[in-house]
């Protein structure tokens, strides 16, 4: 028999025993007990608890957008079989989230971290989480510790019931057992033997209202570089990413978008011979010129990905283009932005904010504050304009999504929708699917409910902010509804790069005045597109927090200062790119500060140190300076530069050593000092810093997406260059000890690297580069 398909479906994702997450239990969450926990006996002790839906995207959305999910939840379960499980609703995209969460829970539960299994929740929409803002671990630290303590105290309470002595001081928990030392002879119970009784109302009544947390000085596991649990599976091909999902009767889809932003389908193209179907797809969201609900793409369905991709690629489609697409052009956009740099209207003040209670708008504030700042500035010591391009996420795993629909006996009404996707926003995926499915007339009388949608978050081959978007999810659901068999939609690299939600391009002007070695006036205007505005997540006439982050709340003493933002309406879909606005503003700020240090005749470390008062920032500067003692003995032809940025509580300073090699700049080494609060896993902090530095370095050196008449010019890695293994600088990471709450590490490694390289460049060649990338038009071959 011809071998046409693999015969052994891969063991995909474990289905979770229904007793853990039934809708009935979900309802119970609203009536959680006095401590915010719900303990139930389901094959042991289950502690359901709320995890705040934290992070950049969620915060942004909550500020001005649709009602956020008020409660996201998780479960700890201690089984009568000795298993300890944490159900995790977030995304593992390489940041070691599962390992870090296991460490935190094990700490409070007093067990070996290897005993804790962190399972991906295949989520009904109650256990939701958005992974963004470097929050996967840090955002859950406090609640997870408290929940872990609740589980531990419940187990101790069960031991109290067993021995009859209710004095807490007579009990201790260690190594997965509770020991009683109040009697003549010590007694000990394994957790598994206490698990059932621990959930009883009698035991719960003994659990203290204020839960004792482990003293950080006694941490055994938090702060240790334990090995990541997901790594072995990522060395033998067994880790399942979204793109790897497969079913016996599955079909494969590829997509072709209108190559011009904002274009829509003129007429449905003919089905190519050999194709199973051609499915016009609507856009899921408003993004610039792309209008939600308009047909901006066509999917081609075939019996393998390669055929589908080829057929989509050569599909002859006629598109309707709006007149405005011609202006989606990088050269024109730059000119437009430069005009906005000096415009007096359409500008909003981000800092200083109007006094509390005043009715002054951000636009009025500009008119009020600007004149006094300009007066202090007089002739600025530095007046510099920085230009930064649009950037693609280019996650190595292209976006993809698998959908399997189950129909009722009439084969018209969907009764179950299962989705497998590399997503950073599982709850939005469920919402996207529900919306599309229930729009069908067949569902009118019997709409699919939230319980009918199961979202399986797979491993992500990089998230980087791209995989919170719903475009690819929506398309896959639309195709599944059209073909009624399981389907996996995979974008080609070319579609992925030319239909991204891009890091906005920006033009930033900074004017600063130096007086007696200090800054007496500072004026910064950022002109860039609005990520939140495009999504309708903020009120018009307000400042987009994403556009000005890294420009406001700086740790430096800036004298009389104003930070402004002028929104640029580019029409190009914009999104959250690792470190978002800080990736832009830190470049402008840190290059300017460096230039001021130069003008003041001061060492850049000394100058910065004189401008800051925050002791944590000072400690990071000192550590970076000490780590880079090689600065004073660089070989000739080398130069150093440094920059610092603070991101959501994490402070990072990077120092680089650069040299010229055959006309191109080479970064030889990077010293990186970081304060990210309480460290969960130092090895992962190091990895995230290394990754952030590489990400920022690629962008600074070569990264850019340019548009000509509405079309992105870079389509694949061949002209979206990144470093190769042999070009990797030696990165040294030092963690500055801190007792602050943990703050994220995924993003903050990115912002300082571009300005650090630019500052080194100016020392090397005595000329300032203020436009990124340094080497536009770079290419890459095989």
């Amino acid at each position: 028999m011809p071998f046409t398909h693999r015969t052994t479906p891969a063991a995909e994702f474990p289905t979770v025993s229904p007793d853990i997450e039934t809708p009935a239990q979900a309802a119970d969450l609203s009536t959680m007990g006095r401590r915010g926990f719900l303990a139930t006996a389901l094959g042991g002790l289950s502690i359901a608890f709320a995890l705040p839906d934290v992070g950049r995207v969620f915060g942004a959305k909550a500020a001005g957008g649709p009602t956020p999910q008020a409660l996201a939840s998780a479960y700890i379960r201690i089984g009568t079989d000795g298993t300890i499980t944490l159900m995790f609703g977030g995304s593992e995209m390489g940041q070691g989230a599962k390992t870090g969460l296991g460490q935190i829970l094990a700490e409070e539960l007093m067990v070996d971290w290897r005993q804790v299994t962190v399972q991906q929740s295949p989520v009904d929409p109650i256990v939701t989480y958005i992974t963004g803002g470097s929050s996967a671990v840090s955002g859950r630290y406090d609640n997870l510790r408290i929940a872990g303590a609740a589980a531990r105290e419940s187990l101790i309470a069960a031991a109290m019931l067993s021995s009859g002595d209710h004095t807490r001081a007579n009990y201790s928990a260690a190594s997965g057992a509770v020991t009683y030392t109040g009697g003549a002879t010590a007694k000990s119970w394994l957790y598994k033997d206490l698990a059932l009784a621990a959930a009883s109302p009698a035991a719960q009544a003994l659990v203290p209202t204020t839960l004792p947390l482990t003293d950080p000085s006694k941490f055994r596991i938090i702060g240790q570089s334990v090995q990541r649990v997901d790594i072995p599976s990522k060395t033998d091909g067994s880790a399942k990413f979204g793109i790897d999902i497969w079913f016996p009767n599955m079909v494969f889809a590829a997509i072709k978008h209108c190559p011009t932003v904002g274009g829509t389908l003129a007429s449905t193209p003919q089905k190519p011979s050999g194709a199973i179907a051609v499915v016009p797809c609507t856009a899921s969201d408003n993004r610039g010129l792309v209008v939600a609900g308009s047909v901006n793409a066509v999917a081609v369905v075939a019996n393998n990905t390669w055929s589908a991709k080829n057929m989509a690629n050569s599909l002859n489609v006629s598109w309707k283009l709006p007149a405005s697409t011609a202006t989606v052009d990088s050269t024109q956009l730059l000119a437009q932005a430069q005009t906005l740099l000096t415009a007096s209207s359409g500008v909003l003040t981000a800092e200083p904010a109007p006094p509390a209670g005043s009715a002054t708008t951000a636009a009025q504030q500009t008119g009020l504050v600007e004149p006094s700042v300009l007066a202090t500035l007089g002739t600025p010591t530095v007046d510099a304009t920085y230009v930064l391009p649009h950037l693609a996420h280019a996650t190595l795993e292209v976006v993809n999504c698998t959908v399997r629909l189950t129909y009722d006996s009439t084969n018209k009404m969907v009764t179950l929708c299962e989705i497998w996707a590399p997503t950073q926003a599982a709850n939005w995926v469920a919402g996207t699917a529900l919306g599309l499915i229930n729009a069908a007339p067949a569902q009118a009388s019997n709409p699919l409910t939230a319980a009918g949608v199961v979202v399986n978050t797979t491993f992500l081959g990089g998230g980087l902010g791209r995989k919170i978007e719903q475009d690819y999810i929506s398309q896959a659901v639309q195709v599944a509804l059209a073909v009624k068999v399981p389907v996996k939609l995979t974008w080609s690299r070319e579609e992925d790069m030319t239909n991204d939600n891009y890091r906005p391009m920006a033009v930033v002007n900074v004017k600063a005045k130096l007086s007696s070695g200090a800054i007496s006036a500072w004026y910064l205007r950022n002109v860039s597109g609005s990520i939140l505005g495009q999504r309708g997540w903020m009120a018009p006439g307000t400042v987009d927090s994403q556009a000005v982050e890294g420009a406001v709340g700086l740790p430096y003493s800036l004298g009389n200062h104003i930070v402004e933002w002028a929104p640029l309406n580019a029409g190009i879909p914009l999104g959250f790119w690792r470190s978002v606005g800080t990736s832009i503003n830190a470049f402008a700020v840190e290059c300017t500060i460096d230039e001021l240090a130069q003008k003041a005749g001061l060492d850049p470390f000394v100058f910065r140190n004189s401008l800051v008062s925050d002791s944590r920032v000072k400690a990071v500067l000192a550590a970076a300076s000490q780590m880079s003692s090689w600065r004073s003995s660089l070989p000739s032809g080398h130069a150093w530069g440094m920059a610092m940025a603070e991101w959501n509580g994490t402070i990072v300073c990077e120092v680089v050593d650069v040299s010229l090699q055959s006309g191109s700049l080479r970064v030889n080494r990077v010293a990186c000092a970081v304060d990210c609060g309480q460290v969960i896993n130092p090895n992962q902090v190091e990895a995230q810093m290394q990754g952030g530095i590489v990400h920022g370095l690629n962008a600074a050196m070569w990264g850019q997406i340019t548009f000509t008449a509405g079309k992105a010019n870079q389509k694949n890695f061949s002209n979206y260059r990144m470093i190769r293994p042999g070009e990797m600088p030696q990165i040294t990471v030092q963690i500055v000890p801190s007792s602050a709450s943990p703050s994220g590490t995924g993003e903050p490694g990115v912002p300082p690297i571009a300005p650090a390289i630019a500052n080194a460049y100016s020392r090397l060649l005595n000329s300032r580069v203020r436009t990124l990338p340094f080497f536009p038009g770079a290419t890459m071959g095989d």
Binding site: R6, F241, G462, N716, M722, D782
Partner: protein, 149 residues
């Protein structure tokens, strides 16, 4: 359509139905044989995510003609060591150095490394031979792992 006999990871697959002429090895491995450890990243031989061994040599499978793999031993990441053991020296070095982040590039990284070692390269030569893209930026740990081989 063509029916081919291929040797992948020591197993002989007879009458493999190649649905389209010109389907490269990558998609045959992934969509027809179900060996999804080998990844698609660019499709144009730039990123290296699709690297496998053909006749002991590292090859980018995304543009590798299936026909020229006939009669040769193909090894993918799944065939590097017995399932679940991660016992190949390169896999061991990768785990010891905690190399992967998202992990998506790593099958190709590891296979390219094995290919470079097979070809008799050492140290930095191996890194330069590899040339794989890792968007997560795991290169420093790749370098540490390679230095222990």
């Amino acid at each position: 359509m063509a029916l081919l006999t291929l040797n992948v990871n020591g197993q002989t697959y007879t009458n493999v139905n190649v649905p389209d002429t010109g389907m490269p090895l990558l998609w045959l491995l992934r969509d027809i044989l179900g060996l999804t450890g080998t990844k698609y990243g660019c499709g144009i031989e730039v990123c290296g995510a699709c690297t496998v061994l053909v006749g002991g040599q590292a090859e980018k499978s995304c543009e590798f003609d299936v026909g020229s793999a006939v009669g040769k031993k193909i090894v993918t990441i799944e065939g590097l060591s017995p399932a679940g053991t991660q016992s190949h020296p390169v896999q061991k070095a990768w785990i010891a150095n905690q190399v992967p982040q998202c992990g998506y590039c790593q099958s190709g990284m590891i296979m390219a490394c094995v290919g470079a070692v097979n070809a008799g390269h050492h140290g930095t030569e191996i890194l330069n031979e590899m040339g794989n893209l890792c968007v997560c930026g795991t290169y420093q740990r790749v370098r540490s792992a390679v230095s222990t081989l």
